[in-house]
């Protein structure tokens, strides 16, 4: 696949490019914006909002909770050892383990969810330019049949460079 991208010095110009591309009929989901820092004040930064990580963290917490309950109760019943006059399944001390495992479940699930949804790790060829590390903002789209219109949009919106890349 061929992609065209423009490099911008300022987020305002990148925003103009995104708006211009949309006017040129490029679907929003085809426009990639890559930057060295998140520009929360700009519309282009607000396209991929999702609450999925929060939901998955909750599920992870519930799984951690259930796993902990299974582990402590199962163990205590498998080897009914009386300790300090406490019942075999002693809920007060078990709550300590259950709490820690619940939080661990939520934390680990959050990190796994981040990696999966953000498509990390990713070491193959992808849309990127090392100039991003120098503060440039990359706006890129698949070339398709509108290559000339895209280049024109990038140039007119103030791109400091327009490049083509084979992915």
């Amino acid at each position: 696949m061929t992609a065209i991208y423009g490099l911008y010095d300022r987020p305002e110009a990148a925003q103009r490019a995104c708006t211009g591309l949309k006017h040129a009929g490029i679907p929003s989901q085809d426009i990639a914006v890559i930057s060295g820092e998140p520009f929360e004040a700009f519309e282009f930064m607000h396209r991929d909002h999702s609450m999925i990580l929060f939901r998955l963290a909750l599920i992870g917490g519930i799984l951690g909770f259930l796993g902990a309950v299974g582990m402590v109760v199962g163990t205590e019943k498998a080897w009914p050892l009386v300790t300090g006059g406490m019942p075999i399944v002693a809920w007060y001390p078990n709550l300590v383990i259950i709490f820690e495992m619940t939080m661990l479940g939520a934390i680990v699930t959050t990190v796994i969810s981040l990696l999966v949804t953000a498509k990390l790790p990713r070491f193959g060829k992808t849309l990127y330019d090392p100039a991003v590390a120098d503060g440039k903002i990359l706006v890129g789209v698949p070339a398709g049949g509108k290559a000339d219109a895209i280049r024109e949009t990038f140039t007119s919106s103030g791109a400091s460079a327009v490049k083509t890349i084979e992915l």
Binding site: T19, E43, H46, I107, A118, L120, L127, A133
Partner: protein, 451 residues
């Protein structure tokens, strides 16, 4: 890139890309100090735990003091960083990573001590819940097993909390380096490019982690306090121990953070990013925690004194008037009187003032952990079980090595990872940039959506 961003990137990557002879000298010195501790540990393993000053009735002393102290220091980072992130305190930006690093290394050092203390450390895995051929799993009613779960959860959470916001900075270093260094940072960056989706997911993950890590941090030191308060032993069996330990942990953690930040500021020349206001804000937090610590100590002491139970009063007077009184009053002076005197006055709440107070607090909090453990164990309810404790050289070397290890880990870390989050610092400049440079026309393009 703005001039500020360029300068920021250059300043914060300088320690990674340039190495002076001073770094190597310091690294060798610190490795030497840590080697002393490793040697002392090897000597103890070879000869048995009898080489320590432990003897009946005092079987917990320096090692468990180190354990509680370093777990306490670990509260500097993740907890403070998470709270500052949750309340969106703008001044947090240069502070968070400096703090999070302390947590991870202090936890590693602290968590080693129950293993060091085992006598047969190679059997430490008996603490973990693995199904053995005899089907005997750890006893979940033991506070020592709670420690295992709490510390491993906190260490896992804190390490991930430190690593996640470092990924964009690893990507930056990847693009600024070549050769082997480039390849290593490319792996650490996990192929991060900085798409809008990646930024959103990262920020969501950091929010969730910040919410989750605060109760975990509180639970960890509460559970460490349960190692003592679950036992019906004078001065230990107290309901106040959980919050008292947590407050003490945050107190010592802030002090460690101030010292670390002052060191980084001076030796890495980060004066432009770690401003006096950061120290002043942390100094105010330290003052608040000093007052809170004083309140807890007073509450604990007056309750014991008023109850006038014979066995409790025996241990109590050991710290007030007898053998351990010099240590106790030193602790009160450096944990309460000195910090309150220095930090209450704006004129004294300078970088130097905060660092002086912090050094006192670090010493005082180590003494506090020691005074919780040893006077009580050496004066249990019946007089036949009274005794004394004197540390021996291997224990003292191990203690010194822990401080050496902390500094060594910190120095090595700041050599390979930007110690201040570069991308978060850049965000901190956004509102100002927007105000200064955005024209009316440019502002109009913001938030414009498809017609």
């Amino acid at each position: 890139m703005s001039a500020y961003s360029e300068q920021l990137t250059e300043d914060l990557l300088r320690p990674l890309l340039k190495t002076s002879w001073r770094f190597w000298t310091l690294a060798i010195l610190l490795i030497g100090v840590v080697s002393l501790g490793i040697g002392a540990f090897a000597y103890q393993v070879w000869n048995g735990i009898g080489v320590w000053g432990l003897n009946w009735p005092v079987f917990w002393a320096f090692d468990i003091t180190n354990f509680v102290f370093w777990i306490g220091i670990s509260h500097a980072g993740t907890l403070i960083s998470a709270i500052l992130r949750l309340v969106n305190a703008e001044w947090r930006r240069p502070v968070t990573r400096c703090a999070e690093v302390i947590t991870v290394f202090a936890l590693i050092i602290g968590a080693m001590f129950p293993i060091v203390h085992l006598g047969r450390p190679w059997l430490f895995f008996w603490l973990t819940p693995y199904p053995s051929e005899r089907e005997i799993w750890p006893n979940f009613r033991s506070p020592l097993v709670w420690d295992f779960f709490a510390i491993s959860t906190y260490l896992t959470g804190s390490s991930l909390f430190l690593y996640l916001p470092t990924i964009p900075d690893f990507a930056l270093v990847r693009d600024k380096t070549t050769g082997l260094r480039h390849r290593i940072y490319a792996i650490l960056a996990l192929g991060w490019t900085g798409t809008t989706k990646q930024w959103h997911r990262l920020e969501s993950a950091m929010q969730i982690m910040a919410i989750a890590i605060v109760p975990v941090a509180v639970s960890v030191h509460t559970i460490v306090s349960y190692d003592f308060s679950m036992a019906p032993i004078p001065m230990w069996h107290s309901t106040i121990f959980g919050p008292y330990f947590v407050a003490g942990a945050i107190f010592s953690g802030i002090a460690a953070l101030i010292i670390a930040m002052a060191g980084l500021r001076k030796f890495l020349h980060l004066e432009q990013y770690l401003h006096p206001v950061h120290f002043e804000n942390l100094g105010k937090l330290l003052l608040m925690m000093s007052l809170l610590w004083g309140y807890f100590v007073f509450g604990e002491r007056i309750t014991t004194w008023y109850g006038n139970d014979v066995s409790e009063m025996t241990a109590f007077w050991q710290t007030q008037r007898l053998t351990y009184a010099p240590l106790f009053w030193t602790m009160v002076t450096v944990n309460f009187i000195v910090p309150v005197l220095i930090l209450s006055f704006k004129k004294l709440r300078t970088i130097t003032g905060c660092v002086v107070a912090s050094f006192g607090v670090v010493v005082g909090m180590w003494l506090e952990r020691f005074l919780i453990i040893v006077p009580t164990l050496s004066h249990k309810p019946l007089a036949y079980s009274w005794g004394h404790y004197m540390p021996r050289i291997p224990e003292i070397l191990l203690l010194i090595a822990t401080f050496g290890a902390m500094v060594m880990f910190y120095v090595l870390f700041s050599k390979v990872v930007p110690i201040i989050s570069i991308w978060e610092m850049k965000i901190g400049q956004h509102p100002q940039l927007a105000h200064e440079h955005r024209t009316a026309d440019e502002s109009a393009t913001m938030w414009r959506t498809e017609p």
